[in-house]
Amino acid sequence: MSFEEICQVLKSQFGDAIEETAVDSCRPFVTINADKWSEVAAFLRNDDRMAFDFLQCISAIDLLAEDKLACVYDLAAISPVSSTQDMTYLRELAVRVVTDRNAPQIPSVAHVWAAADWHEREAFDMMGIDFPGHPNLERILCPDDWVGYPLRKDYAHPLEYHGIPGTTEHELKSPRH
């Protein structure tokens, strides 16, 4: 099933939840409305035509120019499981879910793909996107009391953390940036 056909199915199923289909991109992706993302994800996982059972990656991106944050979900369908035949990707799909930059919220899909658990925690930690419905949304890489979201484009690096300097004296005297 090609990217266009998948988009057709999604459009017929969810209508205007599908905001944009970037066919000409180096890696085509479909943009889905954040409010409907939860239902679309369940459909992508459970529908027989889709059956995207493998969540490869969730990449949070900062669209500073548009004042948005987004998550890119890379999905693949690899079933049926076989231990004798070489398995391949039956189909792949990239989904982009865009959310507001000031109060970023994307419904969690951790109950759909268990793999999303840590990826969403990482997106929360690094980009500050809230995932309502996540079982345990805590910072994963940074300490719990870290201030700010490091991968946002407007992030200012703290100069001190619990008495540990975030920079050296030399750098303070002659800043690089």
């Binding site: 991109s25 890696r27 991106i61 499981v81 004798t84 070489d86 268990a114 910072r139 890489l141 940074c142």
Partner: protein
């Protein structure tokens, strides 16, 4: 595996228990400084005597802002950072990032460089699996296989050193090709190494894989079913150990992998001539043994590379000349390859300048580790190192 004691939750406290030898529960902090957490992993264990009722991994002790750095340097400058992620498989990480950028920008790679890349990523796969196998023996208390594996790995590092001068963080595979051509007698030395190395795999099997105590320690421990493996997004030997014959080199051949003939080993049920009794699909032994078998397949691929590699072309060289001046288009790409630990993906987003707008690495160790919470339940304390070791995590890649 002793599964008789149920985890402690209020609903089950009133129910009759199979083995009523419970004592006071204790929270044990395993790591970040612990010999068998392979770096700085911290696992909080809720234990009842020797039983582990729950294990919660905590990560982030080796976070080095690799993705933030990716947004500040040009791709060819970022290559050295990628091999610091999974420091045991630097070649593969270089290759993944290079492929992602090449796919985004449409850079061509010389034919000879493609062969060199495949050859070195397979050599590095062997080197990485040697560490995985050796340290897994160490986790089980067998010290000697570790040094045997490192003995062979040392020769591999000599090979890498002869090609690029580095022994751990190579940055050899770069955007548009490889940095240098092969040294003069490389093909001979490499095939001599392969001749030496192949029989050694039997040694490891005799010494460790088929050791009765080893099988008893790892067989039927930390079982992850095929469905769960896919649900948790596991990949690499951990996924294949669960009986899923999925390998990106076959499923979605990148580079030139479609030209080679090799097999994808998977975990198989025990009781046959090859697999000892007491092993089930998806347990620690299967994951371990998949790595051993993968080394054999890697040797096959390297032999084919050595046979088919084209001669050096003076004009073309081994690296695309535009690699340092290339601009990234306003577009995005997600490229994955089969790392020794699983699927290593790089998401690269450009914005028309020479510096990426976003670089995101999907570390296989990161995804494989999240299953520890699920597999490390209701087992014995000694099984926790067994499970962590069979996941073969590299914390540099988990924390990035």
């Amino acid at each position: 595996m002793a599964n008789t004691i149920a985890p402690n939750n209020p609903a089950e406290n009133s129910a009759p228990r199979q083995a009523d030898v419970r004592t006071e529960e204790m929270l044990v902090n395993m790591g970040p400084q612990h010999p068998s957490t392979h770096g700085v992993l911290r696992v909080v264990l809720r234990t009842d005597g020797e039983m582990v009722l729950e294990s919660v991994p905590h990560i982030g002790y080796l976070h080095r802002c690799a993705e933030k750095i990716g947004e500040n340097v040009a791709p060819y400058q970022y290559v050295p950072y990628t091999d610091r992620m999974d420091y045991l498989a630097g070649m593969n990480n270089n290759q993944a990032f290079a492929l992602a950028v090449e796919k985004l920008t449409g850079l061509e790679v010389p034919e000879r460089a493609k062969y060199i890349r495949v050859m070195f990523s397979e050599l590095n796969r062997i080197a990485s699996h040697l560490v995985a196998i050796g340290t897994y023996g160490l986790d089980m208390g067998a010290f000697t296989p570790f040094l045997y594996c490192f003995r062979e790995r040392e020769m591999l590092l000599d090979l890498f050193e002869s090609a690029c001068g580095a022994r751990l963080t190579y940055s050899y595979i770069t955007i548009g090709g490889v940095t240098d051509d092969l040294p003069e007698n490389f093909v001979d030395v490499c095939s001599e190494f392969l001749d030496y190395f192949e029989p050694k795999i039997d040694d490891y099997n005799n010494l460790l894989s088929y050791n009765h105590i080893f099988v008893k320690r790892t067989g039927n421990v930390g079982v992850v079913s095929a469905e769960d493996a896919i649900r948790f997004g596991l990949s690499g030997p951990v996924l294949r150990g669960s009986g899923v014959k999925f390998d990106l080199r076959k499923a979605k051949p990148y580079e030139i992998y479609d030209r080679f003939d090799f097999d994808v080993p998977v975990g198989l049920p025990g009781g046959t001539a090859e697999i000892p009794r007491g092993v089930v699909v998806g347990d620690c032994w299967s994951r371990y043994y998949v790595r051993v078998k993968e080394m054999v397949e890697s040797v096959k691929i390297i032999r084919q590379c050595l046979r088919d590699i084209p001669d050096a072309d003076e004009k073309e060289g081994v690296c695309n000349k535009k690699c340092k001046t290339v601009k990234l288009p306003d577009d995005e790409v997600y490229m994955e390859i089969e790392n020794p630990r699983g699927q290593l993906g790089f998401y690269v987003k450009g914005d028309g300048s020479a510096i990426p707008a976003r670089v995101k690495a999907r570390g296989p160790s990161f995804c494989n580790l999240c299953v520890l919470e699920y597999a490390g339940k209701n087992c014995l304390l000694a099984d926790i190192p067994a499970i962590i070791g069979s996941m073969d995590v590299v914390m540099g890649e988990v924390d990035r």
